[in-house]
Structure formats: structure tokens, C-alpha cells
Assembly symmetry: C2
Amino acid sequence: MPKNETDSGRFSYEGLDRVIHEKARLGLLTSLVAHPKGLPFAELKRLCGLTDGNLSRHLQVLQEDGLVSIDKRFEAGRPLTTCRITTSGRKRFLDYLKVLESVVRDAEAGCAAAIASPRLSGA
Amino acid sequence: MPKNETDSGRFSYEGLDRVIHEKARLGLLTSLVAHPKGLPFAELKRLCGLTDGNLSRHLQVLQEDGLVSIDKRFEAGRPLTTCRITTSGRKRFLDYLKVLESVVRDAEAGCAAAIASPRLSGA
């Protein structure tokens, strides 16, 4: 099968940053990118359908990697934790998003090509 | 913060099947969906930029979950392993793809909303 070597790694998607790509963290960043002022912990938990433990764990990963900042303070005597996407986190998320868009395009093109193929029934 | 409860779990993306979502497996399925007749092991390895060990491991996960079938035979005295996406695998991949498209749409809309917000500089 002599193939064109130029497509080596064509589907490796190196830009799919694993820190961002993980399902729960992808949801967290997608919600945070729309809220540059940040979201309270409880609101993030509700929007992303996560438990306290899971949310804490994923936020820690994102914070350690510089993607989000976490601000803890007291308001009216109660603790308030606010999470924000950082400037560099936003940039990395946008870079990731470009690769994700290319995956969607490749997959859609692949599906369309397979449907157009007369040999699909042999799949 | 009294919020509309209808958006609970808005960013949980339950349909992002973890078996498919993993970066290497996403690349494998994206390449296989375009080739319903299947691809040889060596060709998949090249297209997806994986080592023998990694490719074997991820193919095993996909096979055990019914997403791909693996056919081993001898041709001209040499072993030939061909991998194909199964009919149910294709259907699951298409379902996954719809959710992935919604992530991209949500993220793009979120970025656009943040840019339109006069308070972005407070991020």
C-alpha cells in the first residue's frame, strides 16, 4: 500500500491539549470562557453537573496548569469562591478550539466520503 | 444568586462518550469513519502518529467496546491486520460528533459574548 507520506500524523491532533480535552474540564472552560468576570463555585457546579469533589479536583488541575485562577474571600460572613479563566488560559482554549473544529470538519468530511462511496455496504 | 434552574447541567456534555473522546481514539475513529472498508494496522499507525504499543492498546479498548472490529489474516505469507469501524460504532461516533459540534458552538458563542461584553477587561 504505497501511500502519500505527506499525510503522516494527519489524524494525530497534537493540539488537543489533554488538560483541556478531558470531558469535565472542557465543560468548565466552555462555561468560564463566556464569563470573563468569573463564576462562583456553586454556579459552576450546577452548570457543569459536577459533585463538589470532582469540581475541586478538576479546578485544581486547571489552576496548576495556569488555565484558571481561583479567588477565595468572605462576603457577608460567608465564604465565596470565584473561578475565572486566565488570559493565557483563554488563549490556550482558543487554540484548542481551532483543533477541535478541525476534528469535527475531518469527521464530517470522512462520514460524507464514506456515504458517497459505493462500497459502504462492505463496511 | 437566584439563577434560572433550567440551565443546570448545561455544560455537562453527557454525550461526550469517554471511550470515543480520548484523544488518540478520537483520531483513530475519525480516520476509520472515512474508510468503511477498513485500514491496515500500519496505515492507522502512520496516520495517527501512534507507536505499536499505543495503537494496540487503544484498538483493544475500541474493540472491547464494540466500536471497531479487527481482522487478522495472512496475505502472501505475511500477517495483515485490518481495522474497521463497526455499524454500531459508526452510529455512536455520529452521536458523539453531534455533542462535539454543540461544544464548539457553545465555546464560540461564549467567546463572542465575552468579547462583546464591556467588562472583558476585568477578566
